[in-house]
Symmetry: C2
Subunit: 303 residues, 2 copies
């Protein structure tokens, strides 16, 4: 058995939350009314959504970001929801607006996410932000949280990304595709894989970096990996486990047990990408608040 | 020496122009005032831009699309140009607006291309169209012409694209990146390469499809290719050639002589992607005109 490094998103995320908190306190010394504010709209009451919303609320609190969760009825009409969003867009004291996905079937997700002001779109899902992210030298207001969390984890390894072969398993709009864009911008050579990829184990033989975001429990196997690959596991899957009180167990898209012996760095599930996602969200809200303040000429323009 | 198929963009483009012409004449039988109209703005007088503009004008004429080229002075101010664009955006008789790139240095290319109405952006460079193209199930009004020309050429081979390994050499916003998006949407497994890609010949060993768009004369060599690869050469490069009256010779990004013996299909330069680009532009104008007409309820909604 050889040594691998566990990339603990949990610890890194905690550090980021503390840093955000410090930064906010420091700004408040000069601008007492500085108050980064995140609004979350949760439509309906899916239990998984409630769990995620709670994690976002907790992380906001720990980071010194005010967060208000508003629960809206499952059967809200599109017009009512759009009106709500418009009010929030126009409310200067709210810096970030997050609509918890997925939405009930009668609501058009594309339409709703694009109704959020691009400069309050802390999830990074607005067409403007998606378009800018996909371009070279594009300037999105916000980078989507999960992909940005993956990138931060990769940077934590200290390994230069330039010229590395990165294989992304998954091409969804919220994970796979933006991860591909981000790593391309870091000058990785990026291969994007999906359901119709025919020779994935062979493609992985050449991968210095693997990001698994396919929603398939324990999918990536150790003997597919190149020796010393860096492995980021985005997956959140529940599989039956009679030894647990809940009757189920959380696993990623990577078969951790076989992969840890090949990887140089590997993220655990839970405690890997999940907490990073939430930390990146909070950072986006802080950034939005700083931009708003600097536009009020109260702060110098921030990086 | 073995057999390869020459993918003649020249011939396919000609067919597309004739088809467009037929379609326009047919629509005119029902809607006599139907008149697809392309406006081209050329700022300054770069000789290469003049050549490209002329090709677009000729192709429009051959396809039955009206085309007006307006030449603006090199030193036009950004405000004047933006005013001009606004007028054209508001002019219902103009269906497509193309600003010939590159622009003089004092004009911000991003700002100018984004000033064109997304639904007249027949080049497909507007942020809206870029963003939609990069998303799964996104709905751009227009697909950028050169990438779409590459896709059409690949489809001409009759080879199913699903599951094929495609390697794209180049990641520019106007060629490499949108080609990657289009082929990903066709369910290819896509690898995007660039200047920092470290082992390109090795990566190409696995490529069923190669799209070369790196602007490096005769760059891709035959012994890098997988046997029977399909090779699309986007490059337009001039190299010195004393045997020519002009003193120069046009070559692509692919070393045609060594590659033709490995490839199953290969595009020539000239006569490959170039004419397809112009044909796709004309098709975009026709589509814009059809959409405008159908919104006037004069035509049934078109595909
Ligand atoms: N940690 C976090 O904070 C977050 C975690 N997640 C988790 O990440 C995972 C991915 O999420 P998301 O992108 O939204 O999921 P989607 O279901 O939207 O996308 C899954 C992607 O994986 C591809 N895929 C599916 N099966 C295979 C296979 N056998 N081989 C190769 N590719 C395959 C799909 O291909 P195709 O396109 O062909 O269908 C698709 O592109 C999930 O487990 C999700 O729970 C998601 C968001 C946040
Ligand atoms: N036929 C047609 O209608 C058209 C043809 N073209 C032609 O296509 C070619 C590409 O155009 P365009 O995309 O605008 O060019 P750009 O110069 O904008 O982009 C070139 C791309 O190739 C990459 N590249 C450069 N050198 C290498 C190398 N040695 N190995 C691997 N990748 C490399 C660059 O990488 P990096 O990002 O790291 O710099 C960059 O991404 C040109 O020859 C152009 O004339 C363009 C438009 C239309």
């Amino acid at each position: 058995s050889r040594l691998y490094h566990l990339l603990s998103g949990k610890e890194i995320a905690k550090r980021i939350r503390l840093e955000s908190n410090d930064e906010i306190q420091k700004i408040k010394q000069d601008v007492p009314e500085f108050k980064p504010f995140l609004k979350i709209l949760q439509i309906g009451a899916r239990p998984d959504s409630s769990t995620y919303v709670k994690a976002k609320l907790n992380a906001s609190n720990e980071s010194g970001v005010a967060c208000d969760v508003e629960k809206l009825p499952e059967n809200i009409s599109e017009i009512e929801l759009l009106e709500k969003i418009k009010d929030i867009n126009n409310n200067d004291s709210i810096h970030g607006l997050l609509i918890q996905l997925p939405l009930p079937k009668h609501l058009n997700e594309t339409k709703i996410t694009n109704a959020v002001s691009a400069n309050k779109d802390v999830d990074g899902f607005h067409r403007y932000n998606v378009g800018e992210l996909s371009k070279r030298g594009g300037e999105p207001y916000f980078i989507p949280c999960t992909p940005n969390g993956c990138l931060k984890l990769l940077k934590e390894t200290g390994i230069p990304l330039k010229g590395k072969n990165a294989v992304i398993i998954g091409r969804s709009d919220i994970v796979g595709t933006p991860v591909s864009s981000l790593l391309k911008n870091e000058n990785c050579t990026v291969t994007t894989c999906h359901r119709y990829t025919e020779n994935l184990p062979q493609i992985l033989q050449n991968a210095d970096i693997v990001v698994a975001a396919c929603g398939q429990p324990n999918f990536v196997k150790g003997d597919w990996l190149k020796q010393d690959a860096v492995v980021i596991d985005v997956g959140i899957n529940y599989i039956p486990d009679s030894s647990k009180k809940s009757g189920r167990k959380l696993v990623g898209d990577v078969d951790f047990e076989s992969c840890k012996n090949k990887a140089s760095f590997i993220t655990p599930v839970p405690g890997g990408v999940g907490p990073m996602t939430v930390a990146m969200l909070v950072k986006n809200v802080l950034q939005a608040a700083k931009t708003a303040e600097s536009q009020n000429n109260k702060l110098p323009t921030c990086e």
